[in-house]
Amino acid sequence: MKALFVLPSVIYLLIMFVYPFGYGIFASLHPKSGGFSVANYAAFLLDPWQARTLWVTASIAVPITVLTVLLAVVVAYTMRRGIRFERAVTTALVLPIALGTVLVAEGINGFYGPKGWFNQLLLVAGVAEPSRLTHNYTGVMIALFVQHFPFCFLMLLGYISGVDPTLEQSARVLGARPWAVFRRVLWPLIAPGVAVAFALVFVMNFGVFPSAVLVGQPAGATRTVAIAAYQAAFEHYDMPMASAIAVVMGGCQLAGLAVILFLRQRMPATGVATVGAGKR
């Protein structure tokens, strides 16, 4: 009887996840040329122009994930006991989530573009040759940061403000300076949470598509795996090839997750009930 209640979610998972995923793998193993082979994978990984997308994606996803998580930790840490105008600040930080990728990308083009406000300001400030910030690697980095920072920040604020403040106080009284409190008490306690945030932001960044097209240079510097898959599917109409690329991309994301979760398992505070219900 109880099993029946699980049924809707099982059906949902089967239809929305297991079937498409299985179909993708199945399709990727049946190349257009016919038969059953790993030819698509070989073609993708052996073609330097295609295989390069993996390196391009990683070189975007890894640094911007590190940067996003690092900044989110710093900001959430400073805000852990509340600040002035907190609601306004949090709203401003969270707004990009509500606006959607395309609008944010347009905004970035407008603000950081060659004739955008940012460069105009630099000109006024006397910078003769402002650097190019959009339609290249930097543009994608900015877009991904704007999109994923709020999410990461909110998640970490929950973790950090959930740590019992008397732990910090007792560490102080026992002789720890603020930095030692962070390193010896707060960091070990939030590290498992930071790992989860890192994993999620990494996966989102690795799948970057709209930003790479809209504020990047989709034919060159920011030709990510997702763009390669898109081109295979909708420019060359080679679904099996597109599926193979998508599977490789998924494999990379899973590998990243595996590494992060492995490291998380080895953290001293993993599995320890340290974090309360969240902010106040």
Partner: protein, 360 residues
């Protein structure tokens, strides 16, 4: 262990916005003394402790430890030990690492840390628990770790913030005795915050009763218990019967005669009282004794309205003829509706000046 003696003098004011939590609260704690800050929640006792620890900044005032002014020092440089109500153990560290925390920050050699941690855990009877995590310990064991962690650094002053209030009744009595033993053995200067009068009486060398950020009375446990200086302290220390009376005579030996509707009470004063002024006669329920005499000096007669069985005794709610309600504690059961006479010894009646504001 080298006993750490610190005498502490302070005078502190703390305001949060317009609210004054601590109003020029001054105290001198002698070396090796255990002093309790006692009061209801919101009286400022925990704020005082946090100010002493350096976790809050005073609005005004100063703190002197022996001959050094320390109120500008951050908490980590005061060398105090602190035990928190919720223990505040580091959940990611073992018992050993929790206790070693303060010594590691002081960069003591490894061998010394191991030896001191071991000795301290033996002292709080937790030998053998070194590798456990806090979540694997009972509440009482966690509190022992918290005490060991605070004591191992040989603090100049130990601060305890309601350390027993999260424990169940039986464990609370055990830990109370344990804290008393540790204090006696180690000769510590300690400041203990609690709202529990029994804890304050049993542990302290001196007690400070706080109300709204001011000291209402400072004295030995016996002083506070037997000679409350004002209505608030009397009420807080269990004088549940506060009878409004008018003073008729004050005798040279301190005896006070007073009257109320149909009552004549003899008692003793703990402060100045003037003849003809209104006062309050404070009487503990357990000091009322059933008697056969129907009337007389210090005899109160009324009708039992409610009884509560307490095991060894019975709590009575008695309505006097004047309408006043009296609470008494008697050894033998009495039925509801019965008329009883109760007598109280004159030395058990504390005559206090009436306050303009009613007691809380």
């Amino acid at each position: 262990m080298a006993a750490a003696v610190g005498s502490l003098r302070f005078r502190l004011t703390k305001r949060f916005g317009t609210k004054t939590v601590l109003d020029d609260f001054a105290l001198e704690v002698r070396g090796r003394e255990l002093i309790t800050l006692l009061g209801p929640s919101g009286c400022g006792k925990s704020t005082a402790l946090n100010l002493l620890a350096g976790l809050l900044e005073p609005t005004a005032g100063e703190i002197w430890l022996d001959e050094t002014r320390i109120d500008a020092l951050p908490p980590e440089r005061r060398g105090f030990g602190m035990v928190f109500q919720n223990y505040a153990l580091f959940p990611h560290l073992t018992v050993r690492d929790n206790v070693a925390f303060g010594l590691e920050l002081r960069r003591r050699p490894r061998a010394e840390i191991g030896e001191r941690v071991g000795r301290m855990l033996d002292l709080v009877q937790l030998g053998g628990f070194e590798s456990r995590f806090p979540s694997q310990l009972s509440g009482g064991q966690q509190q022992r770790v918290a005490i060991a962690r605070a004591l191992v650094i040989e603090p100049r002053v130990l601060l305890l913030d309601e350390p027993l209030s999260n424990l169940d009744a039986k464990l609370r009595l055990e830990m109370r005795a344990e804290i008393k033993r540790l204090h006696a053995d180690l000769g510590l200067t300690a400041i203990y915050v609690t709202h529990d009068q029994a804890e304050a009486l049993s542990l302290s060398d001196r007690v400070v009763v706080l109300r709204d950020g001011r000291a209402m009375q400072t004295g030995t446990p016996a002083d506070i218990h037997d000679r409350p200086g004002n209505l608030f302290v009397a009420d807080f220390m269990g004088y549940r019967n506060l009878l409004p009376v008018t003073v008729t005579a004050v005798e040279p030996d301190g005896r006070v005669l007073a009257e109320a509707a149909g009552l004549t009470l003899h008692g003793r004063a703990t402060g100045p009282l003037a003849v003809g002024r209104s006062a309050v006669a404070a009487v503990r329920p357990e000091d009322l004794v059933a008697t056969d005499e129907p009337a007389g000096v210090n005899i109160l007669r009324g009708c039992v309205r409610l009884t509560e069985y307490l095991g060894r005794e019975h709590d009575l709610e008695v309505a006097l003829a004047s309408g006043l309600i009296l609470r008494a504690r008697v050894a033998t059961p009495v039925g509801v509706g019965a008329t009883v006479s109760l007598r109280v010894a004159p030395e058990r009646v504390v005559m206090l000046a009436a306050e303009d504001s009613a007691p809380p």
